[in-house]
Each structure stands twice: as C-alpha cells, then as structure tokens.
C-alpha cells in the first residue's frame, strides 16, 4: 500500500508533515535531516527540490532553494542520494517542486525515478488542473505516485470539489492567500477551515502556509487531519547545534512535548 494511504488509514488527526529543502543547509545534509525528522516524530516529509524561480514560496524557502542550488543540488544528484533511503526512512515522502526542472529532466523519467526510489507522492504547485487532466496526471498515476492539489480561501466550493476528486493523496489547504511563511493571522480563516471540514471531502486535509508553532499547529489540527510546516523548520535549521538536536527541539515545540 502507498505509505500516504497507510498513514491516513492509521492516523486521523494531528499529522505532522515537515518540509525541508534538498541540499540545504549542506549538499549532503538531506538524508540526515530526513532521518532526524522521522526519529523525532514527523509523520510525513515533504522534500523540496530547489528551483531558481519558486513562485509560490516566500523569502525563507527561496533562500534555502538558492543555497541548495549553489551547493550543487540537482534532480540527478537527489535521485542518487535517494537510492537507498528506504533502508532507513519509513515515513511517507513527497517531492515538492516546480514544473520546469521536472520537464527538463523528462517528466516521465522523473516520475519513474521517483517511484523507483520509493517516493510516495508529488506536489507541483504550478501544474494546474487542466494540464494535469490532459497530459501529466496519467503519467503520475502510471508510476503509482499520489498527486496533491492545493486549495486556498479564494478557491470556489465547486473547484474544491473538483480538486478533491483529482487529488490522490490528500488535499493541501493553503491557510491564507499568500506565499509560504506568511505572517497573516489564521484567525481570519476559521470560516474557511470550518467550511472545508463540513464539505465531506474524499481526501484527508492538511493545512499549510504560516504554521510555525504549537499554537498554529493546534489551531490547524482542530479543523483538519494535520498540518504542514516548512518555513519555520528551515529557519530552525540555521540555529547552532546538531541537526538531530535542532530537529528534536523544533518538533517537541510544535507537538507540545
């Protein structure tokens, strides 16, 4: 069974998905970070593939992307790194990135390599519904990868239902209309979260963008199956200390140990 499906079968609430950027802070820190995340309680990992022009990301993740590229991270290098990662990492891992590098690599080859390495799903924010349905969705499904669509407070109910039908892993509810790492208050969005909760969607829902501490994590979990944290963790990785101890402190702070 796909690890994402299995996770949501076994755990319905307070799922913690943590984002990290491949090749950041160091070219070869990716696996160590993934291990630390798993050991310290992350239920799922969203692994970012660095791109020169990440439109949906705020300054912190942009900077981590730029550093990853500077460090020499490429899709080829990433797949080499991931060759045996399933020996150690058992939580679901989703690749997050932008269409251009995947197209340049060869979209089908990209999906094949990801599946072969043991990746469970993809988030490609600039792959829209029309192009997914007419061209790329078929390839993604062929390799057994889950595909996760985003919805926002501006997405109409009708469209949320369509995106829910097409999503195969979970639905990624962007907490407010923003790029990642925003400072907008979540309280304004309670109506939107409640609406999603009441819509009886097929997919589990994880809330992301602007989740940064136990307070925002708890608030998100009240209305969904869990939350995704990116910017706050990338910031934490800049602190002194071993990757494992920084990660432990960070996750403990979020889930409230």
């Amino acid at each position: 069974m796909n690890r994402i499906t299995e996770l949501f079968n076994n755990k319905k609430s307070r799922i913690l998905n943590v984002y990290c950027t491949a090749g950041y802070p160091l070219l070869n820190s990716t696996l160590e970070i993934m291990k630390a995340l798993q050991e310290n309680g992350a239920d799922m990992i969203e692994l970012g593939m660095p791109y020169s022009d990440p439109l949906a990301d705020g300054p912190v993740i942009q900077a981590s992307s730029a550093r990853g590229i500077e460090n020499g991270m490429t899709i080829n290098k990433l797949f080499t790194d991931l060759k045996d990662f399933r020996k150690d990492i058992h939580v679901p891992v989703i690749l997050m990135g932008y269409m251009n590098p995947a197209l340049q690599f060869g979209f089908e080859k990209f999906c094949a390599k990801a599946a072969e390495a043991g990746i469970d799903g993809l988030i490609l924010p600039d792959l829209p519904m029309y192009e997914y349905e007419t061209e790329f969705g078929e390839i993604i499904n062929k390799y057994g990868l889950k595909f996760i669509f985003l919805v926002t407070p501006e997405t109409s109910d009708e469209r949320i239902n369509m995106l829910d039908r097409l999503s195969t892993g979970f639905l990624y509810a962007v907490s407010s209309s923003s790029t990642t790492g925003n400072e907008k208050s979540m309280e304004q969005q309670l109506g939107y979260f409640k609406k999603l909760q009441e819509m009886k969607l097929n997919n589990p829902v994880l809330i992301g963008f602007g989740i940064k501490n136990s307070e925002t994590f708890n608030a998100a979990c009240k209305y969904s199956n869990g939350a995704i944290i990116g910017t706050a963790y990338i910031k934490a990785l800049e602190q002194n200390g071993s990757i494992n101890s920084v990660t432990k402190n960070f996750i403990d702070g979020i889930v409230g140990k």
Binding site: Y51, S52, D53, L55, A56, G58, P59, Q62, A63, A66, I69, T74, I75, N76, Y98, M99, N100, P101, A102, L103, Q104, F105, P125, D126, L127, P128, Y130, E131, F149, L150, V151, T152, E154, T155, S156, R159, L163, V174, S177, S178, T179, N182
Partner: protein, 387 residues
C-alpha cells in the same frame, strides 16, 4: 486554453487561479465593449499622441537600397510603445473593480508607463524592480517616484527583471482581491500574452492604413522589430500574422555573442520550459534552472520569450535574427546621424539587421521604432568616449 502551437497555457499555482480565471473569462468582453473601446481610443489619441507617424526614412532607404518606413512608437507619451498596453490594462483593471496596481520593470520603461496611467486614474501603484536595475536606471526610478508610485527592490535571485517579475507575482498571490497585475510584455500565464498583444496591435493596425496612404498597398514586404519578451514585435506583427507574403523579422539580443555565455537570444539558446506561468522557450541549465541573460539593453535582458514568438520561431513563420551589443550601438548611431532620431538601444537591435537582409529595391520595409534613446544616453556617452 491560450496555446500557440505547443507554447502558452497557464502554469500557475492555485493561489493565482481566481484572479487569472476572472481575467480569462472577462478580458475579451470588456476589451471589445464599445464604451471601453471609446475610452481606450480617446486616451490613445489625446493622451498618448496616436496615431504615431509612419515615416519614410529617405537616407536609410538610400543607404540600404530599399524603402524603409519607421513606425514612430518613440513619439508615444513616456517614450515607447509600452503605454499602449498600460492604458488598456488600467481601464480593464478599473472595470474589474481593482484598486491597486502592481507591475514589474527591467529598465523602467514599463514601470514608468504603468506609474503614468496610475497617476492618470488616481490608483495606487507598486512597481517591482531588480535591485541591480534600480542602481543602473536611476532616472526612471525617479520618474516613477515623481509619478507617485512605490518602487520596491527585488532582492532575490539575480536581482534583475526575472526576479522583479517573480516578486510581482508573489505580491499578487498575497493580494488576491484588490490588485491587478499589469504585465508589460507578451509573457505570463494566459490570457496575458493574448491580451497584451491585442492592446499593442494598434501598432500594426495603423501601419496598414498608413502604408496604404504612402504606397497604395497596406502590406509591406518586411516588418522588423526587436524582441525581448516581445510586446512591440507582437503589436507590429499582429495584423500581418496571416498575410504570408509579409516577412516578419524578429531581432533578439545576442549580447557579447550567441555562444559567449553573455547573451539573451532565447530562440538560439533556449529550450522548451516554463517561466512566469507559461510554456515557451527558456534559457536554462541542463538541470532546469533559469539562467541569467545578458544584453546591453535592459529591455531585452530576459531569459524567456513570449509563447506567440516561440511558436513563430518553431513554425518558421517568423524569421529570427540577432544583434550583438556592439552591432546595436552602431546601428543606433547610424540612425541618429542619417535620420536625426536617437532610438532606444532595444530598437538599435532591430536597425542592425538592415544591412544583413538582401532587400529588393521596391520592397517596403517597416521598422518598429519601439522607443526613444533618452534613457540610454549614459550608455551612448560611454560608447562615444571609446571611439
């Protein structure tokens, strides 16, 4: 869905969907409403100064042994064709009920044209401009500020036009309700390439009746224009796209030379990819990271090209040529001396191919004189010191 052959589309994150969808559903209805057309045409006439002349360039014609006509977009208010589009889009934004405008700019020409129409319509205006370009283009930054716009430096990436565009898109993501994004070229997600081309198509519309007055025929043998993103070329080509006897010549910036590593000739160096929301030709590494282009003219210093032009290139309908920094400079000096017109450096690229094409004596050749050279005086002064 806004495709030109295999290029185009709208590769945008969900956060932009509502805005882009609203635009897609409404732009044609709004644009072709008679009341809108009247406001648009009135402003083009009385505020921009259209129709711009189609001028028979006698001395250039003599030198190149053909008939050369210059479409004088340099005489538009603010000094370039850019304002044709910003006038159209500001009226559209008002129809959509938007109260805040954002735009990207490289050299500052589109930024100035946007700040101008925002002042005209009393609407808040935020311009994103690469930190590096802000240093290089101080007079245009001052113009935008004098017109009441806020200029925000784009500090990410290479800190030039590509990054200013990224920042403008991110601003739009963060302000989905009150803001309209005025893209300055025929790039971006559908419907932008089509919408901007339609607003700029006034250029070729005028060329047709003006040339007919001059020669009795509305169809020239050649239309020549420079291409960065490609908005003046899109406007100059528009009404000739289906006239297969009219050769469409697009001139890209070769920078220090196509294979020098410092170039912006996207059709020569690019591969299919996605940049700023559309599929087109993109200058990028093997790994799909977008690379930094180079051109002496900031207006052509862009690692992509509009999807319409990518398709003109692929289909062979357009003839793509290029000019180096040096060739563009020389051509600008030649036009200044022969015709008494100092063109923008961008336009210098278009002029530089006149000596490379074998025209017949009775050919009619249109060169789109997209902008005037005042903004490039510092570069021209440096070139004069050298020689």
């Amino acid at each position: 869905m806004g495709y030109y052959g295999k290029f185009g589309g709208a590769y945008i994150p969900e956060m932009l969907h509502r805005n882009v969808e609203e635009l897609k559903n409404r732009y044609l209805t709004i644009m072709y409403d008679p009341k809108f057309q009247k406001s648009f045409r009135d402003l083009l006439k009385d505020y921009v100064g259209r129709p711009t002349p189609l001028y028979y360039a006698e001395r250039l014609s003599k030198k190149y042994r053909t008939n050369i006509y210059l479409k004088r977009e340099d005489l538009c208010h603010t000094g370039a064709h850019k304002i044709n589009n910003t006038i159209g889009q500001i009226l559209l934004a008002l129809e959509l009920g938007k109260t805040r405008i954002i735009a990207e700019t490289g050299a500052g020409q589109h930024g100035v044209a946007t700040a101008t129409v925002c002042a005209l319509k009393n609407i808040r205006c935020v311009i994103y401009m690469g930190e590096k370009d802000i240093e290089r283009q101080a007079p245009n930054v001052a113009r935008m500020r004098m017109l009441g716009a806020t200029v925000i430096p784009a500090k990410s990436g290479s800190r030039t036009l590509k990054d200013a565009t990224n920042e403008a898109i991110r601003d739009w993501i963060n302000n989905p309700l009150d803001t309209h994004y005025i893209i300055g070229s025929v790039v971006g997600p559908h419907p932008y390439p089509d919408m901007v081309a339609r607003f700029q198509s006034v250029i070729s519309e005028e060329i047709m009746w003006q040339l007919k007055k001059h020669t009795g025929s509305s169809l020239p043998e050649y239309v020549v224009a420079c291409v960065g993103g490609g908005s003046n070329a899109a406007g100059a080509f528009y009404h000739f796209l289906d006239e297969h006897n009219v050769k469409l010549v697009a001139v890209e910036a070769a920078g220090l030379g196509i294979s020098s590593g410092y170039s912006a000739a996207t059709t020569q160096l690019g591969t299919p990819g996605i940049l700023h929301g559309s599929k087109s030709l993109v200058m990028q590494t093997e790994d799909g990271q977008v690379t930094e282009p180079h051109s002496i003219s900031a207006g052509l210093d862009y690692p992509g090209i509009g999807p319409m032009h990518a398709n003109l290139f692929e289909s062979g309908r357009g003839e793509f040529m290029s000019a180096t920094d040096e060739e563009a400079l020389q051509a600008s000096f030649e036009v200044a001396k022969l015709e008494g017109i100092i063109p923008a450096l961008e336009t210098g690229h278009a002029f530089s191919v006149l000596g490379k094409i074998k025209f017949k004596e009775n050919d009619n050749v249109i060169v789109c004189l997209s902008g005037r050279g005042d903004k490039d005086l510092a570069t021209y002064m440096k070139a004069m010191e050298k020689n």
